[in-house]
Chain length 544, copies 2
């Protein structure tokens, strides 16, 4: 039987067709037969320790690959990834959550089957809140159409979807009725023309236009279009924090990360003094806006997202960023002189001082020079992210962080997803100790599949972003000996880093160690925080 | 200011009043000020590594204590405990989930605040599916009334509730308007009288009545009533698996655990051949019914739950188990001769054979004799649970396991909850290696608070309950060196157990080691399973 002839086979085939090569998950009895089918297919099953790890890994995978997939069992698996689904929703990461479920034949008379919460559809109800489309594959006649519908929604809207597969539907013959995916709805030509005319006029009349690019540019695959616009106009360009690295950070027009008062003052000045700010695909979130320290005047702003285009105080509905950007590239925008950008002092060589304790500032200065072309920086929320915001990323899409939803514990499992998506990338994982304790043991999965990230644990014995605001014993965590984890896993290399010299030796050894992960336990003073966190804290304190 | 005069103070005061002494959680910025209030109150804050651990710990705590509480931040915390809430719902464990949230003043114009998923009420919508009552404390006038309403529901229905506390409501003056908790609705006296008359007649006419007691007896605190009924009638009594240990297992009338074809044949025979089966507070779940191998004839059954009473094929609505049980105790039920119960061979002394590998059977025989009065057995779902079902528990409520919802990874965090609820109890944690890898690092929290469970890891390198049904690499887990975990945590003692002699030495050392946890890595053959799992597997295989 060809796999495409069954419901489950069709699902697998469509995932493959859309470029999925790995499925992250944990098996369970309601999904066991589907795991066997996955195992026998060309999809690779990646078994994580806990479902949370699978959710985060697939999210990161989707960010790089364009689509990701999680496969878990009913409720005890599915509800553990509710938070990962929420993050994928908030940050527009297209992840397909596939859950096994009791068979149709088992649901008769509503028995109390194990893993059931309240009703058979409890999990489905919950995922409706967290996804843009969901389906229960309980009808062989409709299953293929439903699979296509939800996968198309994931791809079109770049957000998670949910597929529930009753276990007695695995292997059931299906009727493939491929519906054409709805083409991205073409905006009405007149609306687009009017918007473009107005935009071009506004841009050409401006003295100092600046582009701020956000994460949607990345999610909708518009980086080339953006680059063309930059080349064409020679406008300076900044990114939001969530969009960091979507423009190669060595690009001569690149200003830096704009996040209001949290970022570098010269970037802020350049952006906020522009008389024509072109905001493309940016989420105006609190963190992106530097906790609302950003001062962006809508009267001088042109703002395009995947949903609409706004110019000054009015909006054009029903036209999408993609065609708008394409239109700008075809339009008669006047080219400017190459902007003069005072780029931040090139990260100079750091010379370790014998016996000197590592500080946050030294650590990130050193990491900045440590970066190589093939490295991807994965930053967990917290000071790992804030300090990393000013690191200089070499290529595109090489900075991954949940800078909006900000779920702690993302980075280690994310590195699993990143390296599955692109085995040539080498992750540099930056994670706080509190966050590491949530999900860091997914190093086990990393070891199992022979991956080689370098994990830097910022060990300051607690939740360092909270302490400056309001401290108490609830901000403490037990101090683990992170460098001993390889002894538990029987894999990887651990480094205990206290001094600048320790750091130097550990980084060089980690770079060389490509047969497994490296973990660096970097001991920091408890009150040592990055400049960005310092600014953030001051600002947050005012708000609560 | 008295704590009772603020919204948050009132919440803390009511939790205390209902017997809560510990709150399990992880802080975050939306809940930070409330954590400070908790810290300054008489409630003790227990910080877990991950929110999942807090959810499971509070569930176990609630099972022993009568009410438990979790405190987490908005979405990134709350959605991580969705699964724990689901388990508490399914198995009737009254846990109060308190989530911080953006302030009322921050919600104006619906900004994109960090941790927000879709709308401000997304998390609330989700918890509505998982709780029996929920509230957003956004009105100081109503807050106290709302707190009372949801806490009363938790206590009355023995299920989880959800309280969302916007951060700007902490410390806000409140208007305490205590509403009297609705008394347990009195059934109509006539209904109760008729039901009791019929029940007593049926019981007295029967040749061999048998009681099967389920978990609701425990949750509603009716163990003394049940004991009185047993003393009064001298009927033999079995429990369901989920209700295991609610009758002291040395009681002369105790038959054993009844779970259809999965349990001991003599228990099954006794129960299924009864001409008057008195089912009290039992959930008729698949696992409780031995995956539907149970043969219970409704025509000979009297079935009381917290919701209704059924006799043979008809039901009496609106009377509750409590008054029904009390009625039976007051009624003229005829006393029988003490039943002759062929109790399972008393666990004889096991003598370790030098050099012999530990088997599942040997392990549980030995653990059975290892049990002492002050020990509580906490069994994770899987063979840990199935094999433990036949262990002989000395006292009441000393067996804790999610035998219905069956979420893996419960046991280690549960031991934290159990020991907080009752410091005199010493947990013996039985957990598979797959389950341990999900949440076992909560040993960190156990170490932090100086608790001393003994954790037995059934190390068979994978998901042992799945292998017999359908095996593949997806059932494998990386083999950790579990006994080295103390080196990472800087606490606890680890034991590597391969032979019967190793086991002997490790158990005796663990018993003596009361200054921290012990972890026993018990290496088992991959295909070595308990008799119960053998029977379960055979039965499950037929159903899929």
């Amino acid at each position: 039987m060809r796999p495409s002839q069954t419901v489950s086979g069709y699902l697998i085939q469509r995932l493959r067709r859309h470029g999925v090569r790995h499925v992250f998950g944990v098996p369970g009895d309601y999904v066991l037969t589907f795991f066997r089918e996955l195992e026998q297919s060309r999809l690779r099953v990646i078994n994580t320790c806990d479902e949370q790890g699978a959710g985060f890994a697939a999210d990161a995978y989707a960010r790089l690959n364009g689509l990701g997939a999680v496969c878990i069992t009913y409720c005890v698996g599915g509800l553990k990834v509710a938070n990962a689904a929420a993050q994928a929703y908030a940050e527009k990461s297209p992840v397909v959550f596939i859950s096994g479920a009791p068979g149709r034949n088992e649901r008769v008379k509503n028995p109390l089957l194990h893993h059931k919460v309240r009703d058979f559809d409890t999990q489905m109800q919950i995922f409706r809140q967290l996804t843009v489309a969901s389906t229960l594959l309980d009808d062989p006649q409709e299953a293929c159409r439903e699979i296509d519908r939800v996968l198309d929604e994931a791809l079109r809207r770049k957000r998670p979807v949910y597929i529930e597969l009753p276990r007695d539907m695995v292997g059931v013959p299906a009727v493939p009725r491929r519906v054409r995916s709805p083409a991205a709805e073409p905006g009405e030509a007149d609306v687009l023309r009017e918007a473009l005319e107005e935009a071009v006029e506004m841009i050409n009349a401006a003295r100092n236009p600046v582009i701020v690019a956000g994460v949607e540019i990345h999610r909708f695959g518009l980086q080339d279009q953006l680059l063309r616009l930059i080349e064409k106009t020679s406008f300076p360009v900044a990114t939001t924090l969530l969009g960091k690295s979507l423009v190669g950070e060595s690009h001569p027009n690149y200003l830096g990360v704009y996040w209001g008062g949290m970022g570098r003052p010269e970037v802020r000045k350049r952006v906020e003094s522009s008389d024509c700010l072109i905001l493309l695909g940016a989420f105006l979130t609190d963190i992106n806006l530097g906790i609302f320290t950003a001062r962006l005047d809508p009267g001088r702003t042109l703002y395009a997202t995947s949903e609409k285009v706004s110019i000054r105080h009015h909006s054009y509905e029903g036209i999408c960023m993609e065609e708008f950007l394409e239109g700008l590239n075809r339009s008669g925008i006047r080219r400017r002189a190459r902007p003069r950008i005072a780029s931040p002092a090139r990260p100079g060589r750091t010379r370790p001082e014998p016996g000197k304790r590592v500080s946050v500032r030294y650590l990130f200065r050193r990491l900045n020079t440590f970066l190589e072309e093939n490295m991807v920086v994965i930053a967990d929320p917290g000071d790992a992210l804030f300090a990393a915001a000013e690191m200089r990323i070499r290529r595109e899409t090489e900075f991954v962080s949940p800078a909006y939803y900000a779920s702690l514990g993302f980075a280690v499992p994310a590195s699993l997803g990143v390296q599955c998506a692109n085995r040539r990338l080498r992750p540099l994982v930056l994670v706080g100790d509190g966050a590491f304790q949530m999900s860091g043991m997914e190093l086990s999965t990393i070891a199992r599949y022979g991956l080689d990230p370098s994990v830097v644990v910022l060990n300051n014995r607690g939740y360092g972003t909270e302490r400056p605001r309001l401290d108490g014993p609830f901000n403490d965590v037990l101090e683990w000996r992170y460098s001993r984890i390889p002894e538990v896993l029987g894999a990887g290399r651990g480094f205990d880093v206290r001094t600048e010299e320790d750091l130097e030796a550990a980084l060089l050894a980690a770079r060389k160690h490509t047969r497994g992960f490296s973990i660096l336990d970097v001991h920091l003073e408890q009150d040592d925080i990055s400049d960005a966190l310092e600014r953030l804290t001051t600002s947050l304190r005012k708000r609560v």
